[in-house]
Amino acid sequence: SQKIEQNSEALNIQEGKTATLTCNYTNYSPAYLQWYRQDPGRGPVFLLLIRENEKEKRKERLKVTFDTTLKQSLFHITASQPADSATYLCAFSLNTGFQKLVFGTGTRLLVSP
């Protein structure tokens, strides 16, 4: 079955550094991959969507890459701030007649001042 894997261990970094989070997927070739931010006790919030024919997408301090050969997406936050501390989830939609969104477990990011 289709699977999304994200590093379950929290990522701790110093303020100002670049955070890099990894999302790997198997048994599927998504046309689109998405990244979400989730704060404790709240619903996920959409950040970025990248298409399979795009190598890279940027939005302010965020950058996402999509390598369909490696079946991997990387999510970067540059000049990280304590306010960036949250869990980041990757997701893709399965085109099985209905479009349904499948999520990874997320990686918790902690940015220290």
Partner: protein, 114 residues
């Protein structure tokens, strides 16, 4: 302005007592989803609607049912909640297919079963 609204934010129910969670949207989106999320786990899709077409996930227990009476509203009914059903329940919407699968989530309903 809230676009996907879930009520209530917190729900306590007794073991075996039916409970209904509600979701409404002001986005006029075609797709509505219900996810279950337990601590430190991925949101798990229970079912979704594309307009009135309902799609149940194969591993969603029969104990869970859903209704979508119109575009704006969707309900999650848990017929006989067990202790294992305690979780955050998330409702989300999207416009539809391809690039339009960006999901908008509500704040979630935290369900406690006692």
């Amino acid at each position: 302005d809230a676009m996907v609204i879930q009520n209530p934010r917190y729900q306590v129910t007794q073991f075996g007592k039916p409970v209904t969670l509600s979701c409404s949207q002001t986005l006029n989106h075609n797709v509505m989803y219900w996810y279950q999320q337990k601590s430190s786990q991925a949101p798990k899709l229970l079912f979704h609607y594309y307009d009135k077409d309902f799609n149940n996930e194969a591993d969603t227990p029969d104990n869970f049912q859903s209704r979508r009476p119109n575009t704006s509203f969707c309900f999650l009914d848990i017929r006989s909640p067990g202790l294992g059903d305690a979780a955050m329940y998330l409702c989300a919407t999207s416009r539809g297919t391809g690039e339009n699968t960006e999901a908008f989530f509500g704040q979630g309903t935290r369900l406690t079963v006692v």
